[in-house]
């Protein structure tokens, strides 16, 4: 096998029973960090992110044979990861029976004591500001600011028009700027 098969080649190998496991492990290895940190920025806690990233790749495993290839593989994975993360957050909020929306701070409240968060004070304030955004706006901001994803690719992930995404990012960045100025 090629040492660095393309996504298309991985998909082809996945359809073959004898090479499926190896192809899937290669796919996970290739995209795990990007997908994990996308999830982590949404759910904040590592243990939660670990659960969600595993669920994401299991969903990919279940759906990969139906993947048609008209989107890029990694934007498809990002879409699953985003949906899994938002679903997780809603379930967690419902289970805790508290509203994050009023303060938006609950998931980031423990960052100061989290040994797996090494950001400085400004980075923590940025996470607090992001936590106050509506969920989808949070995703838009993270994909653009941290992952530096093109709007066209974000449009594939979120199934939203490029114009709406640009406007949403602008709105998010304004809110974050206001929060940083006020804190």
């Amino acid at each position: 096998m090629d040492h660095n098969p393309s996504d298309r080649e991985l998909l082809r190998l996945f359809t073959n029973e004898s090479t499926r496991d190896k192809a899937f492990t290669d796919l996970v290895t290739r995209y795990q960090e990007r997908v994990y940190f996308h999830i982590r920025r949404l759910v904040i806690d590592h243990d939660d992110a670990n659960d969600v990233v595993q669920n994401t790749f299991i969903k990919a495993w279940q759906g990969l044979h139906r993947f048609r290839g008209d989107a890029q593989l990694y934007t498809w994975l990002y879409r699953i990861a985003t949906n899994e993360s938002l679903t997780f957050l809603k379930r967690k909020k419902a289970a805790a029976q508290v509203s994050y929306d009023e303060s938006g701070m609950e998931p980031v409240a423990g960052l100061a004591d989290d040994p797996l968060f090494t950001g400085d004070r400004l980075q923590r304030k940025l996470q607090e500001a992001i936590a106050r955004l509506p969920h989808k706006q949070k995703v838009v901001f993270n994909l653009r600011y941290f992952d530096e994803m093109k709007y066209e690719e974000m449009s594939e992930v979120l199934e939203t028009s490029v114009g709406a995404l640009k406007a949403s990012y602008h709105h998010a960045a304004r809110k974050i700027e206001d929060y940083l100025l006020g804190h």
Binding site: F24, Q32, Q123
Partner: protein
């Protein structure tokens, strides 16, 4: 980020001062162990649900048909109960929240209605509406363009 894209994004002074370095860390060897953990779960999934066999049992189609019939009957029932259409300009907050005409409403009307009668604060209402619209693949460009 390509320069032509970087110039178009808003970035305030405060945001510019924040380091872009990833502040999140993972336990040692986490990414070396994760593929095996996922492969293990995928192996369990394969036992429970074979990948890509492509065949759907008769029961699946029968269940889908039953759901379709129930939804059709529910739709007919709802249309009978609904009665004559309302003028969107006179809808109350509750009617807006529950309305089957939600997709037909003008976003500005909806914002005004929520601001006037809604129980929450501006940011929460706005977030709720944006999430709803994005969830339903709506194009909110017009709304945001108005806001900028």
């Amino acid at each position: 980020m390509p320069p032509e894209q970087e110039n178009t994004d808003f970035k305030g002074d405060s945001l510019s001062r924040v380091s872009r370095e990833n502040p999140f860390r993972v336990p040692d060897d986490y990414f070396r162990q994760l593929p095996a953990a996922i492969a293990g779960r995928a192996g369990q999934e394969r036992i429970l649900r074979p990948v890509g066999d492509g065949r759907r049992p008769f029961r699946t189609y029968a269940a889908a048909a039953c759901v379709a019939v129930v939804m059709l009957l529910a739709g007919i029932y709802a249309s009978v109960l609904r009665g004559p259409a309302h003028d969107p300009a006179t809808l109350t907050y509750e009617q807006v929240s529950n309305s089957v005409y939600f997709h037909d409403l003008d976003i500005f009307l909806l914002m005004d209605e929520v601001a006037r009668q809604g129980p929450g604060n501006g940011d929460s209402d706005e977030g709720y509406i944006e999430d709803y619209l994005l969830d339903h693949s709506a194009d909110i460009s017009d709304y945001y363009i108005e806001q900028l």
